[in-house]
């Protein structure tokens, strides 16, 4: 055993030489490249092997986003697709898909599905919008938000309890939840003197703040400072963590790769703020990072930490991968599942609150059933598996951008909704095919799967 602790110490030459059990070529395809890479070259070779084996991670969705950008920029009238105004608009349109897809992650990673989140979130948003109306209840904005999200949390917990305690399929329970949510939403909207359309465009401060969630912007200078602080914080955290792991001989990516990762995050931050800080208004000034970006980023960051860095997140993956193993490890499956369905609905509540802000109020035209299908599509397009055990909140954000990009680009072309539905459907099929193929690829090396 060498006295310098390195992860290569795990392979003693004598043992490695006699080892006939490892099939290096077959196994290499399934290893995350950052796990085995000693250098940048290793990393890219590892990535290439994985892509060839169908285990491509977020690569297809990144390629898809680039393709959407190039195609629509080329064909859009006056090449407005990549203009600052349209890109910010695109993000605002995509926000609902992103947050709902992040919400759907909770169900999908468990190997379940939640069809109700569109209407359950819409109920929460309807409650919030109703409560801040100055002519009726006139609640403060924060109390109204708490009430709306609390409704979602409770609704999700009830669905989760039915699914786990009565062992009903999540498909059926949440389908019932979709119908019940639809009815409840219509019923809540009809309360008060608003003929079913309570709005956020009034003059009370509480209405204004909710309206600003989507349409408000941060001062350009503050945007730069905020971006700088976030990028520096995240960058230092990643750099510090990786270099500490390298020093103590744990599995860590090479320093150059960490630098590239941090550099990319900084680049994205600078580009986004630079785009947002251009004046986007046809008349007057409209510039700065919209609040909605910060809100989506905050939801993403919080749930990334929950999924990747907490016991609870680990248990979601374990149950999605092998429920029996999780049970034998002493994990409380019932509790983990109920909390997951609660958080799924809760996150959906945030998404529909942003949507209400986008619409400037709530209306009985909100299509919760269609939204949830887009949410599942966004998650799967982003790389979350429909078979459970695999997926990240980040996938939802990337997939949401793809769907928002298709929607926005088709709209610029003057197309109606028909081709947009068809194209989105085809993209979803492509994403599900990639998911299924990569699953087959990774299953070939395992003993227990057929």
């Amino acid at each position: 055993m060498s006295d310098v602790p390195e992860r290569t110490e795990l392979v003693e030459p004598a043992e490695a030489a006699t080892d006939l059990t490892a099939a290096p070529e077959a196994a290499a395809a399934e290893l995350p490249p950052e796990v085995v890479a000693q250098s940048l070259g290793d990393y890219f070779r590892g990535s290439l092997t994985r892509i060839r084996a169908g285990e491509s991670g977020v690569l297809p969705v990144i390629v898809g986003l680039l393709a959407i950008m190039i195609v629509f920029e080329t064909v859009s009238p006056g090449h407005v697709f990549l203009s600052a105004g349209n890109l910010v608009n695109l993000f605002q349109q995509s926000a609902i898909f992103m947050v709902l897809a992040i919400a759907e992650c909770f169900a999908l990673v468990l190997g379940e599905i939640d069809l109700s989140i569109g209407y359950v979130g819409a109920c929460g948003a309807a409650i919030t919008v109703q409560l801040v109306q100055p002519v009726t209840t006139n609640w403060p904005w924060w109390a109204a938000i708490v009430a709306g999200l609390a409704f979602c949390l409770v609704f999700g917990a009830i669905q989760g309890t039915l699914i786990t305690k009565l062992r009903l399929p999540s498909f059926i329970v949440t389908l019932a939840g979709l119908l019940i949510g639809n009815g409840l939403m219509l019923w809540i909207l009809l309360l008060g003197p608003f003929s079913g359309y309570p709005n956020l465009t009034g003059f009370s401060d509480n209405q204004k703040i909710l309206y600003q969630l989507m349409w408000g912007t941060i001062d350009p200078n503050v945007s730069w400072i905020l971006m700088g602080v976030i990028v520096a914080g995240v960058g230092l955290f990643i750099w510090w963590g990786d270099s500490r792991r390298r020093r103590s001989g744990l599995v860590a990516p090479p320093a150059s790769l960490t630098l590239i990762k941090v550099g990319l995050i900084a680049l994205v931050g600078v580009v986004v703020v630079a785009i947002c800080d251009q004046n986007r208004a046809a008349l007057g000034t409209l510039q700065g990072v919209p609040w909605v970006m910060v809100i989506v980023l905050a939801v993403l960051a919080a749930w990334m930490v929950l999924f990747q860095r907490t016991r609870y997140g680990r248990y979601i993956y374990a149950i999605g991968g092998n429920p029996e193993a999780a049970r034998r490890a002493g994990i409380n499956l019932t509790l983990v599942r109920i909390i997951a369905f609660s958080l799924c609905s809760f996150t959906a509540g945030i998404g529909l609150l942003l949507f209400a802000s986008y619409l400037g109020g709530m209306s009985n035209n909100v299509q919760g059933g269609q939204l949830v299908l887009y949410a599942v599509a966004a998650a799967v397009i982003g790389g979350t598996s429909l078979f459970g055990g695999r997926g990240k909140p980040l996938h939802g954000v990337l997939g949401g951008l793809v769907i928002g990009g298709i929607y926005n680009g088709m709209y610029l072309q003057g197309y109606d909704v028909e081709p947009q539905f068809i194209v989105t459907g085809l993209v979803l099929l492509a994403a599900a095919t990639i998911d299924s193929l990569s699953r087959r690829g990774s299953a070939s090396g395992s003993v227990t799967r057929v």
């Binding site: 055993m1 992860r7 110490e9 795990l10 392979v11 003693e12 043992e15 490695a16 080892d19 006939l20 059990t21 490892a22 099939a23 290096p24 196994a27 399934e30 290893l31 995350p32 796990v35 085995v36 500490r244 792991r245 103590s248 744990l250 599995v251 930490v305 860095r309 907490t310 016991r311 680990r314 993956y317 374990a318 999605g320 991968g321 092998n322 029996e324 193993a325 999780a326 034998r328 490890a329 002493g330 994990i331 055990g389 695999r390 990774s442 299953a443 090396g445 395992s446 003993v447 227990t448 799967r449």
Partner: protein, 266 residues
């Protein structure tokens, strides 16, 4: 019969785990009749028996999955009640199931610590878990994996078995029970796992292996016990058996051959 065997037992001192007079029935079916079993530390005990002999039931009684109707279990000389798998873990009894109970989508470290993750201020302490897992794998000389951060889905059958065993050892366990550890493995991988079992024994652990494979049993076992229709028909040093006698005990519960000590329950 227990008294007769005690003097003949390979380990003169108190065994790590002592089972006395265990009965278990499921409805009208009597699965275990007054079973006695000794599992000494630092020895590999092979539990043999035909299908339906009660091997699994006996194992589950020890690992806390089911509780026996009657009988007593002594661990390190003290009487204990093992009601749940948590109770068993607390005593230092770990079971490696035939299906291994690993999550394919998690990596080796994550699987080894599943359900017992270490945290620091609420967040997972990955560094400390990875270090501990690497140390355990190194001491067991499980050296063929490329990285302990690779998902279990990418491991060979033998490597998976090794990870499952290392997971059991990680918790300072004193007794490791293995259900058919070599059933799904090829020749080389079987050798790898049998070597690993010997290393556990050399570290002073008590190991109980349930197996149908006589080659493996004679390769690795220090002691052999045979169940027949819920009764313990024989337990003795492995050297006092040959293949023929083990097969006869397993299939008939009795022995027609001479030269081997005979021992029958009840």
């Amino acid at each position: 019969m227990a008294a007769a065997e005690a003097s003949n037992s390979p380990a003169a001192e108190e065994p790590l785990l002592k089972v006395r007079g265990i009965d278990k029935h499921f409805g009208p079916v009597q699965a275990l009749y007054h079973v006695d079993l000794d599992l000494p530390a630092g020895q590999v005990t092979a539990l043999c028996g035909d299908n339906g002999a009660g091997k699994s039931v006996l194992t589950k009684c020890i690992s806390g999955v089911i509780s026996p109707d009657h009988g007593q279990v002594f661990f390190e000389g003290r009487p204990v009640h093992i009601r749940t798998t948590r109770d068993a873990s607390r005593l230092g009894i770990e079971t490696v199931y035939q299906d291994l109970a690993l999550c394919d989508n998690l990596d080796i470290v994550q699987n080894m610590f599943l359900g017992r993750e270490r945290t620091r201020s609420g967040l997972l302490d990955e560094d400390s878990m990875e270090r501990e897992a690497a140390k355990t794998l190194a001491t067991l000389r499980v050296t063929t994996v490329r990285s302990i951060r690779q998902p279990v889905a990418s491991l060979s059958g033998g490597q998976r078995q090794s990870v499952a065993i290392a997971k059991a050892v990680l918790w300072n366990s004193k007794l490791v029970i293995m259900d058919e550890p070599t059933a799904a493995l090829g020749v080389v991988q079987t050798k790898m796992v049998l070597d690993l079992i010997r290393r556990l024994r050399d570290r002073g652990l008590a190991v109980m292996v349930i197996s149908h494979n006589l080659n493996d049993i004679f390769d690795v076992a220090d002691r052999i016990v045979v169940l027949y229709l819920g009764r313990m028909v024989v337990h003795n040093r492995a050297s006092s058996f040959d293949r023929q006698s083990v097969v006869e005990y397993m299939t008939t519960g009795d022995l027609g051959l001479s030269g081997v000590r005979r021992s029958r329950a009840n």
